[in-house]
Symmetry: C2
């Protein structure tokens, strides 16, 4: 091995400046039966924890998200990814609630993942990082909650993979969550969901620069493969209608077809940009591990059936889907709702009408904000009345 300074190894120092880091020097046992001997969790909190610690809301992020919910994000140099939902006077009101947002286990924004240093070798884990599950991500979040001294979350919530974590919390730690809001999410990854992720993984692994996961100390990263993976996934985040209305067959910076393989169409240019900008902020190995975790996710499998996963639960649920989401469809949320009904849980469900497909949960949807805000108030009131336990 050449004596070269490790490069391309997220996260870098500047990322820590705008978040908190907690190092845990005890082991985390994983679903695979392997364990991480130590780990760190990067997270942000917003608002103030009240005296009886009853106003904590955990927001779990999606596949390639991070802990920067609001305010400056040093990775993207943009604002937070859920400023529309979270903040002073917003649905998740930081004047009322103490909001916690951790980077997921396996991620690349500060929480331990494949790009972190393996304490046993003092080199990046790469593929020596153990394969993790959504439950493992939640296990790490439980450690963080214990560290923060909070017994019970008012609500755990998230969109897409964030909703999967929220549902895992409710299924596996029912006493620790009064409310649960999965948005544009699902109770298990379908064959089509797995198929799209497998295309992405194959694209990364086909890139010679991937080098079986050992690229952190090399000049080259598997950027081309990761960009293709992102492009394929990005199509599933948008509705056909959005694509047609926003791009249609419009040409990019030209008046006629170019009769070549440059980006003639705006949609091509847009997708290429999505791919290229993604590789600047995300680690290819993390993409492998996190997509694998979602593919392994199936709440019904570990519990006999989906309704058994929530049997006897006192957690209140607010299940939200979008009518144009073809990645995690309304049908999946309806199946979840029926299972929750069968397990006699307290459930609200709404299928929200939005043009924009799966990504709608990140966008301006007043009906979603109203549902979330109302649900948080009702759950708080229910706790005040001594209910929900």
């Amino acid at each position: 091995m050449k004596n070269k300074k490790p490069i391309n190894m997220p996260p870098n120092k500047s990322q820590y400046e705008n978040c908190k880091i907690k190092q845990f020097d005890r082991a985390l046992k994983l679903d695979s039966t392997e364990e991480l001997k130590s780990l760190q969790i990067a997270y942000n909190t917003y608002g103030t924890l009240n005296k009886d610690k009853s106003n904590a809301v955990m927001v779990c992020h999606a596949l390639t998200g991070d802990q920067y919910l609001i305010g400056h994000n040093p990775i993207t140099n943009n604002g937070g990814w859920w400023e529309l939902m979270v903040g002073s006077g917003k649905a998740v009101d930081t004047d009322k609630f103490f909001v916690i947002c951790p980077n997921v286990l396996g991620g690349c924004a500060g929480t331990t993942g494949p790009s972190s240093l393996n304490p046993e070798t003092a080199r990046p884990y790469g593929l020596d990082f153990p394969v993790i599950t959504i439950s493992d991500m939640v296990r790490a979040q439980v450690m963080l909650l214990d560290y923060l001294g909070i017994d019970r979350l008012l609500t755990v919530m998230g969109g897409s993979m964030g909703g999967m974590q929220a549902l895992c919390w409710a299924a596996e730690y029912p006493d620790r969550v009064a409310g649960c809001i999965p948005i544009a999410s699902t109770w298990r990854h379908s064959a089509q969901n797995i198929a799209f992720h497998e295309v992405g993984r194959q694209a990364i692994m086909a890139d010679l620069a991937w080098n079986k996961g050992n690229y952190y100390e090399k000049e080259q990263r598997p950027s081309a493969g990761l960009a293709v993976a992102r492009m394929a996934a990005h199509i599933t985040y948008m509705s056909e209608k959005t694509l047609t209305e926003r791009f249609g067959r419009n040409l990019q910076d030209r008046e006629k077809l170019g009769f070549g393989f440059d980006a003639d169409f705006q949609i091509e240019s847009y997708l290429r940009h999505q791919g290229i900008s993604f590789v600047e902020r995300y680690d290819a190995n993390s993409y492998l591990y996190i997509t694998r975790a979602t593919d392994y996710y199936d709440l019904s499998a570990g519990h006999g059936s989906l309704s058994e996963a929530f049997e006897g639960t006192k957690t209140r649920f607010c299940v939200l889907s979008f009518d144009t989401d073809w990645l995690y469809t309304t049908q999946e949320s309806r199946t979840l709702m029926r299972a929750l009904n069968a397990s006699k849980a307290h459930v609200s469900f709404a299928d929200l009408s939005m043009d924009k497909g799966h990504d709608s949960f990140l966008l301006d949807c007043p009906e979603m904000f109203d549902m979330v805000s109302g649900f948080l108030s009702a759950t708080m009131k229910s706790l005040d009345r001594g209910g929900n336990l």
Copy 2:
């Protein structure tokens, strides 16, 4: 350049054994304004041309299809790709009709394409091959029809990209087609259609072995990139229902999750197989050119509007779609039908109920066979009565 025997250059000799080849030593002018100074077309015919040459049916193949409609296919070592539709006693009855199936321009099964020798350099074209359109494919087919001495086709038909060619025939050579059957097809490529193709092209071009299209004389082909492209496309050929029913979350050759990146799930194993077997029979550059041709396809653009494309046509149409096809949806076929109605064309339309998504046109669908068979008989009768001209 090393003095090495060109390798990996389809088609090989054995492929010619089971088809006809016609060399044209005159120029084909292309939509790009470039021209091919000469070209060859590989094709098959089945059945017998009748005395007044009124029983010819041209079948146009889909994206990665070929001229081997029925009987032994020397490329795949399987049977023909439309044995369910074409043959003695089948819907396209070779006892009654003279069936012609040419490999498309730009393809890699014998018709001139990027893997063919460029007569000016005596080396494979690679990216020196001009970018072509669906109309250019049809122009080449017109040369073949002239050579065969046939003035008018009883019907031109095809599924998917085959349907695009059929519609181009009807729009651009209305006097030469009495009937037209586009199946599971569309009148223009949508933004989502283009997006999926762009992912495939980027996957190929990201493969270092692609080498800007110059790989025919190298040891390595861009197989990894082409396999990823095929995997992404293959997902769009199947309905979500098919994927769930056929694969679901079933594991492949194992009883438990493997906690690694091998193919745990049957759907992963299936997709990988689709990718790997595809690269054995298909040329990566042809994939670039043919997907580009479909992306450029928009019948409304060249004619003012879609209905103007068919104004005054005497061709009879039979438009068939499948209710679970999300690549070229029923909605697109309905739009086509309405445009044909507006141009006062004779149209039959059926949205067929099949579970299997886009690929249904290749499968056993008795209703489709009945529609095609009835349409061919009715068109033949209409000609006998002197109609349709």
